[in-house]
């Protein structure tokens, strides 16, 4: 995929939830975190984990969708759900390994992050800069560095 992706740095996240609020307003017109495409999980140690769709190169949700409502955008590689075709069988919801596709009980369709057609609201409102919208090659470099750090840290463990 040569498009842009959301790059999330969970260590910068302060749990303000503005990303989730902005997402729900942009897509539903109201503050409703259940219907937001952006979730922020809070661990017991008060570490915040912002989660959104990874727009996988081989999306499990699109493979599982029986009506092809969930599909991969040919141009930018985004994984999108066509509201007009979705029958809300929720196979995409159970198939996603990251739990990002979700059922919208008000719209009565399955739904997910669509990058706001190229200008993600979550990026715009994130004050700490925990969410960035970058080209995919920069994103993979960040993950490689983070993985290398984890491996180094494990070598330091007694």
């Amino acid at each position: 995929m040569n498009g842009k992706v959301l790059l999330v740095d969970e260590e910068k996240c302060d749990g303000c939830l503005l990303c989730a609020i902005a997402c729900s307003i942009a897509h539903t017109g109201q503050i409703d975190l259940v219907r937001s495409h952006f979730k922020v999980w809070r661990t017991e140690e008060q570490l915040h984990v912002p989660l959104t769709c990874h727009h996988c190169e081989t999306p499990s949700c699109a493979a599982a969708c029986p009506t092809k409502a969930c599909h991969q955008d040919a141009e930018g590689g985004r994984v999108l759900i066509d509201d007009a075709k979705c029958i809300a069988c929720r196979t995409c919801v159970v198939a996603c390994p990251f739990g990002h596709a979700h059922y919208d009980p008000v719209a009565r369709v399955s739904t997910k992050c669509d990058y706001c057609d190229g200008e993600p609201e979550c990026v715009r409102v994130c004050a700490p800069g925990a969410i960035r919208y970058v080209y995919s090659d920069e994103s993979s470099g960040h993950r490689r560095r983070a993985a290398a750090q984890v491996r180094a840290a494990r070598r330091l463990e007694p």
Binding site: R42, E44, P66, C86, I87, R90, G99
Partner: protein, 350 residues
């Protein structure tokens, strides 16, 4: 512009607890009903047709209509399987969303979607099995006049019925990130349950025939034949269930969690009472006792027990479906437990 701030009391009221470690809630009772009736109908059709090939049928119960058209309603009591499967498929409508009327488009992606493949397999079984049942009831003399073609039609229905029964397990197995569903034994467990519940459903049909015709001999062959194989079917299902639970306990942490839900967790009553008790232990004991007693009442009780337990099994498998913890969350938990390690951003280029 000043940064936006969410009030602390609002933040405190928002539940940011992840759903990790808890069973999924997307596929619920209507999906369990779809899986159950799909398997039950397929199993009943297989048992009824194979029993017919072995000469075990109900005595004909013919009625003659105006014009000399003869119906044999006894066949409807054993060949109802395709209609049960159709009923199960229609239950899905209650699960769908605003575009439920587009359910027929659920066959558009058979290349990768097991739900789409199942739509085609079930449709084929419902059509072929329905034709077999309709001909057997409304044109009872036709099979005798065209025996070769009739056997081919029945056999195609049996193949599609096997496909339907095993598909209900393959659908769950295709969900890779729920260990309790992705187990290799799930399709075979559901197939065994389909045959067991289908056999008992056919036995119930035979008991209804006995009640209406009031002739014990009319059901003797079929009922006793089904009762003779039922302990074997239950034993196979029980073995597969034990192997499945052992597989979960030895696999991924979420699989172990799922097994725990059945054995001692929130699903313990459903598992021990519904799945083990109703579906396996009680009917097995009754079947062994009834081999000597030949009591219709015990046969009905055993049938009802298996039919109930089969549904509990489907509900139980859906109810213990715990999704694997996402990698980023595992990393976050590791980071929380190792605060001495510096931030990964420190390694970023300036």
């Amino acid at each position: 512009m000043a940064p936006l701030v969410v009030p602390a009391d609002l933040l405190a009221r928002i539940d940011a607890t992840p759903r990790t470690g808890r069973p999924q809630i997307s596929w619920e009772a209507s999906i369990a009903g779809y899986l159950y009736l799909g398997g039950l109908g397929a199993g009943a059709y297989i048992v009824a047709v194979v029993a017919g090939w072995l000469g075990l049928t109900l005595a004909p119960a013919r009625i003659t209509l105006i014009g000399g058209w003869v119906w044999d309603w006894s066949r409807a009591l054993v060949l109802w399987g395709p209609f049960a499967t159709a009923l199960g498929a229609s239950l899905l409508i209650f699960h769908l969303g605003k575009n439920w009327f587009l359910f027929y488009t659920a066959c558009k992606n058979p290349r990768t979607s097991w739900l789409a493949r199942g739509f085609l397999i079930l449709s084929g079984f419902i059509v072929v099995g329905g034709v077999v049942a309709a001909v057997a009831v409304f044109l009872p003399s036709w099979p005798d006049r065209h025996l070769g073609l009739w056997r081919v039609l029945e056999a195609v229905g049996v193949v599609l019925a096997f496909g339907t029964a095993i598909y209900t397990g393959l659908l769950l197995r295709s969900i890779k990130y729920i260990p309790a569903w992705n187990a290799p034994l799930i399709p075979f467990l559901f197939l065994a349950s389909a045959l067991s519940t289908g056999a008992m459903g056919v036995l119930m049909g035979a008991m209804v025939h006995r009640l209406l015709v009031a002739d014990a001999a009319s059901v003797h062959g079929l009922a006793r034949g089904v009762e003779a194989i039922e302990p074997l079917l239950i034993a196979i299902e029980a073995t597969l269930l034990v192997l499945y639970v052992r597989y979960l306990k030895k696999g991924k942490p979420e699989g172990l969690l799922s097994a725990g839900l059945w054995l001692s967790g929130s699903w313990r009553y459903g598992f021990w009472g519904g799945i083990v008790g109703l579906s396996l232990a009680l009917p097995f004991a009754l079947a062994l006792v009834n081999l000597g007693l030949r009591s219709d009442l015990l046969a009905v009780i055993a049938s009802a027990s298996v039919l109930s337990g089969g549904f509990v099994l489907r509900m139980g498998v859906l109810g213990i479906g715990v999704k694997e913890t996402p990698p980023l969350y595992k990393f976050a938990l590791w980071r929380a437990q190792h605060p001495a390690v510096g931030p990964s951003s420190a390694l970023e280029r300036p």
